[in-house]
């Protein structure tokens, strides 16, 4: 660009407000922090697809090594490694790959069942996609929604109550269950948005705390007569009415909720790229003070986006209680709320990216069950792989150096990258 105009790319020179300027008041400090966080988010959103792919590969390889490292055969062959190293490598390869083969067979295709496992993948992916969309939407508005877990719980609780306590005709009942679940999530998320907008409290802290409050709340409710299944001492609700659950697709565990997830993905895409509220979210997410100055009601926007994020997580809760589980327990959210964060990050906070990431992590989850049965590899390996993927994706220079490309970019290091980001953002 205009090389001649020095003010174009000298982030240092005479610029009256850089992030380094001494923040005089806490308000300015939070603004600076927020803007900074946002610029990092932007980086994640804007990274390349290749890096995502390599991150998945790197994480799988590391996960494979971890599996192999605890494998007996590998240990035994290591004992005579110097004598016959090939044995060791063979064992290593077998240990690592056999788990993944089992995982693939449990998630996508195996000779016995054909593509039936894929349906299970889609089933597991449904709540991941819904909740992931909630996290992604909030990310785009510059908010860290760590609270999908609690939003799923509250959404699922309301939905389940409508599902087992009321008895209504088919269609209407399911619709009501869906609406209540979404409203429950929206309230739980919107409450965080409200507190943030009114008091400036950080949404990360609020959502973490609200997750626990939701957990204890549902635990309490499931011990009351209104929620507890008659004759049960465990905290578990009655089964939802047949009229209140998503109809099964293709006779498997896969249910209509997956179609809802697709519809929600389209909806989030439309909101973000084609609607005025989406414009507000993106403006507020990238530079709240500029948005405020241009007349955007940042507080309203914060409440709205958190409510929408909560609504999406609430839909995930509905997918659980009215689709997969058909009852309410304290484990209604499993770890979907936390997985949703990694899903949104892997999907770079774009609706379709999140959808794809949800499918991938759904496959991991579904396949891991089969893997544990076949090879004895614990499901926990999925957590390891998932978190490694996100770490790698968040640090493209690390991936580049791992795979030995983009050396120049690496030598210039993150500083150069950041400097560019700063100039580009103009707000860091």
């Amino acid at each position: 660009m205009s090389q001649l105009d020095p003010s174009s790319s000298a982030p240092v020179e005479d610029s009256p407000a850089t992030a380094q300027a001494p923040p005089p008041v806490p308000v300015a400090a939070t603004t600076a922090a927020k803007t900074e966080g946002v610029s990092v988010l932007r980086e994640i959103v804007a990274g390349s697809g290749l890096v995502s792919l390599l991150a998945v590969v790197a994480a799988l390889v590391l996960g494979g090594l971890l599996i192999a490292s605890t494998d007996r055969q590998v240990g035994r062959t290591l004992g005579y490694f110097l004598a016959r190293p090939t044995d060791f490598f063979q064992a290593l390869w077998t240990a690592g790959t056999s788990s993944y083969v089992a995982l693939f067979q449990g998630a996508v295709f195996n000779p016995r069942q054909g593509f039936a496992p894929l349906l299970e993948t889609l089933t597991v992916a449904t709540p991941l996609i819904c909740a992931g969309l909630g996290v992604a939407l909030a990310f785009r508005a510059g908010l860290f929604n760590i609270g999908a877990q609690g939003q799923i719980i509250i959404g699922g609780t309301l939905a389940a109550y409508a599902g087992f306590a009321w008895h209504l005709p088919f269609g209407l009942h399911l619709l009501l269950v869906l609406v209540l679940g979404i409203v429950g999530g929206a309230l739980w998320g919107g409450l965080v948005g409200y507190l943030k907008a009114r008091t400036g409290a950080h949404e990360v802290i609020l959502t973490i705390m609200f997750n626990y409050v939701a957990l204890y709340l549902v635990d309490f409710l499931l011990n009351t007569s209104a929620f507890q299944r008659p004759g049960e001492t465990n905290p578990i609700s009655p089964r939802l009415d047949e009229t209140a659950v998503f109809p099964s697709l293709t006779g498997s565990r896969l249910h209509l909720g997956f179609v809802v997830a697709i519809a929600l993905t389209v909806a989030v895409w439309w909101i973000l790229s084609r609607s005025t509220v989406g414009f507000e979210f993106r403006a507020v997410g990238a530079n709240p003070s500029a948005a405020r100055t241009a007349g955007v009601d940042v507080g309203r926007s914060t409440i709205l986006v958190m409510a929408l994020a909560g609504a999406l997580a609430g839909a995930a809760g509905v997918a659980q209680v009215a689709g997969t589980e058909k009852v309410l327990t304290t484990g209604v959210a499993a770890s979907y709320g936390f997985d949703a964060i990694t899903v949104a990050l892997l999907g770079r906070s774009s609706p379709w990216g999140t959808f794809a990431a949800g499918l991938l992590f759904g496959a991991f989850r579904a396949g891991a069950v089969q893997m544990q049965i076949q090879t004895g590899t614990p499901i926990d390996i999925v957590l390891v792989v998932q978190s490694l993927i996100v770490l790698f994706i968040a640090a493209p220079p690390l991936i580049r150096s791992l795979f030995g490309f983009g050396r120049r970019a690496k030598r210039r290091g993150p500083r150069a990258r950041h400097a560019q980001g700063t100039t580009a953002g103009g707000a860091a």
Binding site: Q20, P22, I44, L66, I208, D380, L388
Partner: protein, 429 residues
């Protein structure tokens, strides 16, 4: 709004201090009414008994017996008076003095205790046991929040306390089991916590990855890793890999027999004593030494520190690492003191309560210590109340730390001001 206003000229000093708000008077009034009505008028008339001396004490003090309803009504009236005074001050345009809050809080908690004990099936609890248990439960919280203090004061958000505790707990168990030395387990726990912290530091400082993301993901990673190794290693041979043995309780003669204070100060495991030492050392270090001055400087205004030749990122890196080591020691409490084996997710979300304690304690080691004690107290009270059978569902007691933190960050319980540069990676230029 912007940083342009940076060297904020101290504008005309017309009225010093912020405008007097309704927040304090309103909060006090609502709480006073709740206390008076619920604890007082709707309370039980039974006599509540608080045991003070434990069996091993040097001298026995009689138990405290108070009539339930009457005591709560008296306390409620006092609280209402305090609230009314606060409202009156507000109407005069004056501020409620700082001591009013804590005094009110103490009365409220005592009123609550009297109510809840008096309404129980067996209206008697041991105050000594309650407090000693609170301290025990607070140990990992204190270590965790000290880790948070060091990280966040140096400018790195630490959401990974949970992972540090869990990593410490796991490593302590496995190393102590294999070496048959709980002491080595303790050291290994510190190393493990430091390693978790180093990942946090490398990703947030070297790769400029958002610190909240790294923290969240690290918790998942540690949870997955320890869960995986628990199943594949520990459960394969628990005798060899998951029987760490316990750190002994070191009782200091005579002193440990003092009622109430004795057990909590002089009858602890190494980890318990280390907790007191750590709080003191971190506080002293933070505010009275060169190390602390530099640490706080890079957390408040890293560029200023840089212009004075302080290596900002190195300072951050090592303090984050140190924080991790401290949290790791806290994690060893689970497997070397509380029980003598590791199970999945043994830290059970206490890392997040430690985070809450850190914020409630306003990023100050001593504040965090007392906040952790309060949360430990709530935790222990919940357990005791379940036993004596009270009308309060245990889930609501369990929620307390989280709700208190929400109130704290929302500014209803004082203003928390985090370090100014917290969460912002430092990049030259």
């Amino acid at each position: 709004m912007s940083a342009t206003a940076a060297p904020a000229v101290s504008a005309p000093a017309i009225s010093p201090g912020a405008p007097v708000g309704w927040k304090v008077p309103a909060t006090l009034s609502v709480l006073a009414v709740v206390a008076l009505v619920v604890f007082g008028f709707l309370g039980s008339a039974q006599t509540a008994e608080f045991g003070i001396s434990a069996s091993g004490d040097a001298f026995a003090l009689p138990a405290l017996r108070v009539p339930g309803m009457a005591t709560s009504i008296v306390l409620g009236v006092l609280m209402a008076g305090l609230a009314a005074w606060s409202v009156w001050l507000k109407l005069q345009g004056r501020r409620t003095p700082g001591w009013a809050g804590p005094v009110f809080a103490v009365m409220f908690v005592f009123s609550f205790l009297v109510w809840v004990v008096a309404s129980a099936r067996t209206p008697s609890i041991s105050l000594a046991g309650l407090i000693a248990g609170a301290v025990t439960l607070a140990v990992p919280l204190v270590f965790g929040s000290l880790s948070g203090v060091l990280c966040e004061r140096s400018g790195v958000v630490n959401i990974a306390i949970e992972g540090q505790l869990l990593g410490g707990a796991f490593t302590a168990a496995i190393v102590a089991s294999v070496t048959r030395s709980p002491a080595l387990g303790l050291v290994a726990a510190a190393v493990a916590g430091a390693l978790v912290s180093m990942v946090l530091a490398v990703f947030s400082i070297r790769y400029l990855v958002n610190q909240i993301i790294v923290g969240v993901v690290l918790n998942v990673l540690v949870s997955g890793l320890t869960g995986f190794l628990f199943t594949t290693v520990m459960q394969e041979d628990p005798e060899l890999f998951n029987s760490p043995g316990r750190l002994p309780i070191l009782e200091i003669p005579v002193l440990s027999a003092i009622p109430i204070l004795g057990p909590i100060l002089f009858k602890q495991s190494v980890v318990g004593y280390l907790m007191y030492i750590a709080v003191a050392v971190v506080w002293l270090g933070l505010f009275k030494t060169r190390w602390g001055l530099r640490l706080r400087a890079v957390g408040e205004h890293p560029k200023a520190a840089d212009t004075l030749g302080i290596r900002v990122n190195a300072t951050r890196f090592w303090n984050v690492t140190l924080g991790g080591a401290i949290a790791g020691i806290g994690g060893s409490f689970f497997t070397l003191v509380a029980i003598d084996s590791f199970t999945k997710e043994i830290s059970g979300g206490r890392g997040f309560i430690a985070l809450a304690a850190l914020i409630f304690g306003r990023w100050n080691p001593i504040g965090a210590f007392f906040a952790a004690l309060l949360f430990g107290f709530a935790d222990n009270l919940q357990a005791i109340l379940t036993i004596i059978g009270t009308p309060v569902p245990s889930q609501f007691m369990a929620m307390m730390p989280y709700l208190v933190t929400v109130f704290a960050v929302a500014g209803l319980v004082g203003r928390s001001r985090p370090p100014a540069a917290e969460g912002i990676p430092y990049v030259k230029g």
